[in-house]
Structures are given as C-alpha cells and as structure tokens.
Symmetry: C2
Subunit: 200 residues, 2 copies
DNA sequence: AAATCAATTCGATACTAATCGAATTGATTT
DNA sequence: AAATCAATTCGATTAGTATCGAATTGATTT
C-alpha cells in the first residue's frame, strides 16, 4: 500500500486535501466518527460521491473505515495529519522533492544556443543569466586548487573566445575565479550555484 | 490580498501544492532563487505554463517575485510553509473547517422520513443510526436536571409512539437517559453526539 | 530609435477530476 | 427466503485546470 516515494506520498496528500468537500470531511471526522450516509447528508452530496472522496482520503492514509453491521464508519487516522505536517517542516523534505529535476537544463539550453560545434562561443551573451551559464561552463576548464599565471589563463580562455580580457574580467566579477598579484585560481561554488558542469 | 477566511486560505494552500510541477518549483526555490526561464528549462515546460504556476503559488502566498532587469526572479516566501504546517497542527483549525457544515442534516433527513405530520413516529426504525437519530430527537422533550417518575416518562413518550417500553429501553441503552429506583433523568450529550436538537 | 529579451496575458485544446444515477454487493431484518 | 438497507462500483456528464502557441507588455541593449 505504501509503494510510493516520499514525494509521491506528499503529492497524494496535497491532492487529497485540495478539495473543499474533502477538507470538510476531515473537519467533521475530527469531531466524531461518521458513516457515509451521515457525511452525505451533512455535505449535501450523494453517498456515491462521498464514497469516492473517502476512497481518495483512504489512499492518502488520512482516514480508515470499520464495518459496523452494514454501516461503514470512517475515522480520522490518528497522527496522520501531524505526521504530514512534520514531514513538510523537515529540513530534508524540500530538497528531496526537487531531487529528480534536471537542474542543469537551463545551462545546457544556453550553451546549446551560444556554442559552436567546436566548443567556441558564437558571442559572449549580454544577458546576465546567459552570461553566468556560459561562465559556469568555462570555469570548469580550470582545476580546483591550482594557481594559474595570467598567460596560462589566457591560453585556456582563448579556446572559447578571442576576447580573453572580457572573459577574465567577468569570471572575477561573478566570483567564479579570484586574482592576486597576477595569479588566478578557481573559487568553489557558492550556495546559489548549480551542480557540477555536465561537460556536454 | 488576504480577504480569505482561514479555511479558504487552507484550501488555496492545498490546491497550490496539489500539482507535481508546482511541488517541484517549491523544491527548486528552496535551494536557490530562480527566474521563469530557468524553471521552465529545468521542468521541461514552456515559460507561459511556469508563469501560470507561479501565479497560483503567489496567490497562495508561497512565493514572491523581484524584478531584476527584465528577469522576474522568484523566491520562496520565508516561513510560509512553516506557517501553514503550524496552522494544520493547531487544535482549533480542524473544527473551524467544519464550522459552516450543517451537522444536523442527517437527523433531519431521518426524522423527515419517519415522522408523521403530527410529530408521531410512523415506526420505530430498526437501523441503529436511524434509531439513534430518533432517540436524539425524542430525548429533547425531557429537560436537563429534572427527575421524572416512570409514569411521567411514559406520558411524554406516548406523544411519539405507543410502544413506550421500547422507547424507554432504547433511551437507557443508548445512554441518553438513566434510571434508578423507578426515577429517570436525562444524561448530558457525550462527545460523539450532535449539536442541540433543532426542534423541527 | 530599433532590435532584442523575458515575462505575462489570452484563447484554444486536452486532460483530470467531481458529481450523479443505475446497477451491484454484502449484510441484516422480517 | 424475501425484503430491506448502506456502501461501493461503474459509466456518463460536467466542471475545472494544465499546457501550449501567439500576441502583448516592459525593460534593456545596440
């Protein structure tokens, strides 16, 4: 029954509560256990409709039913709401939702637009976001923890574009590289940066 | 902007998160602020679609946008998720959702089916839920904190049905009244009972 | 001033989900 | 055994919404 990943479970939970009548059902069951007919009368709906809503809530593990003669009496599952609320608040939940997402897609799209087949730049884009995507790609040509003299920096940058001076300046300005006394080195990605360059 | 009652706000919140792509947007924004185009590339959607999703999330007060040149950079509203999670957990939230619901509707429906125009019972229903609804109606004819001798109890019950013995027995059995040494008195509603009899 | 760019709005389309009535199922009462 | 009852399932209809492409808007760059 719980063959769902945590994010699928969370989505199921939100979908279950994203309906006015289902929310009311939860509110009513919080006060007392009720049968399908009772809920139908209170909500002004047909029993078949209420049965459907209760099925959705069951699949989201929010309610359960017990048989009493020919009644099906539904109960709020104790701790179900609390559990999901805590899941929402948990630090690891949000990142895990985005886990399956291709966060490099934008950079790839920009590079696809701006790169020639040989890997050189058609142009150095003027738009900030595009420029940043290009710079993230270029800086991957430098190794971490290595000190580069300016001559070597220019040789590497020249593989991408003849205007090495602009590229140097932008790499520094966007804090992807640092310079001191004519020596350059790569800076580690800040929190707001993307995953590692996928090297397309 | 917040001309919504608490329950409408809660529903808006759940609706906003009841979509896989919007959940992913929240997950991505939890890691870093992003523009519409970046989100569109990551999710494999058109900018217009993402714009629509961001509008929904904005109306639910989950994200906000800041203009940066011609980019619209979206941010997770700090504390928004936490706030809603706490609202979910709050003791008073659940009952307030069901506040507008007519909890007497089932009893009224049963009474409408089983009562004659003069207020007498066509039959004493066999089904437990229906019987309970009828008993809740009948017990309202007795005052709280008054001690009734059996003779007077029978007179009152006879207004509803000739089989006063059965009615007496069921009222006791369902703990709506109690008896001791031939004296009867009404019991206060337990947690699982309905609101006061609407006296139709 | 013209061209470019990202975002939004709008209209159309496809998909999903809510609701109902009819038929069916399981259980209980007569 | 037959009749009654509540719940569920099923099929059809309707309402809502996700998605897209085209057009528009505001801002920036050339």
């Amino acid at each position: 029954m719980t063959d769902l990943t945590p994010d699928e479970q969370l989505l199921e939970f939100f979908k279950a509560l994203a309906d006015a009548n289902r929310l009311k059902i939860i509110g009513l069951l919080a006060q007392s256990d009720l049968s399908v007919e009772e809920l139908a009368a209170m909500l002004g709906l047909r029993p078949s409709t209420v049965s459907h809503h209760l099925m959705v809530l069951s699949l989201a593990n929010l309610v359960s039913a017990r048989a009493e003669s020919y009644y099906n009496v539904y109960t709020l599952k104790p701790g179900a709401l609390e559990g999901m609320a805590k899941t929402m608040l948990a630090q690891e939940t949000l990142p895990s939702i985005a886990a399956g997402v291709d966060t490099n897609a934008y950079d790839r799209k920009v590079l696809h637009d701006v790169l020639l087949p040989d890997g050189r730049l058609k142009i150095i884009p003027a738009q900030r976001k595009k420029l940043e995507a290009v710079l993230r790609h270029i800086v991957a040509a430098f190794e971490m923890d290595v000190r580069y003299p300016e001559k070597q920096v220019n040789e590497i940058l020249a593989q991408f574009h003849e205007d090495t001076a602009t590229l140097r300046r932008e790499l520094i300005g966007h804090k992807l590289m640092a310079r001191e006394a004519g020596i350059y080195w790569r800076l580690s990605d800040s929190a707001n940066s993307r995953a590692a360059d996928s090297g397309g």
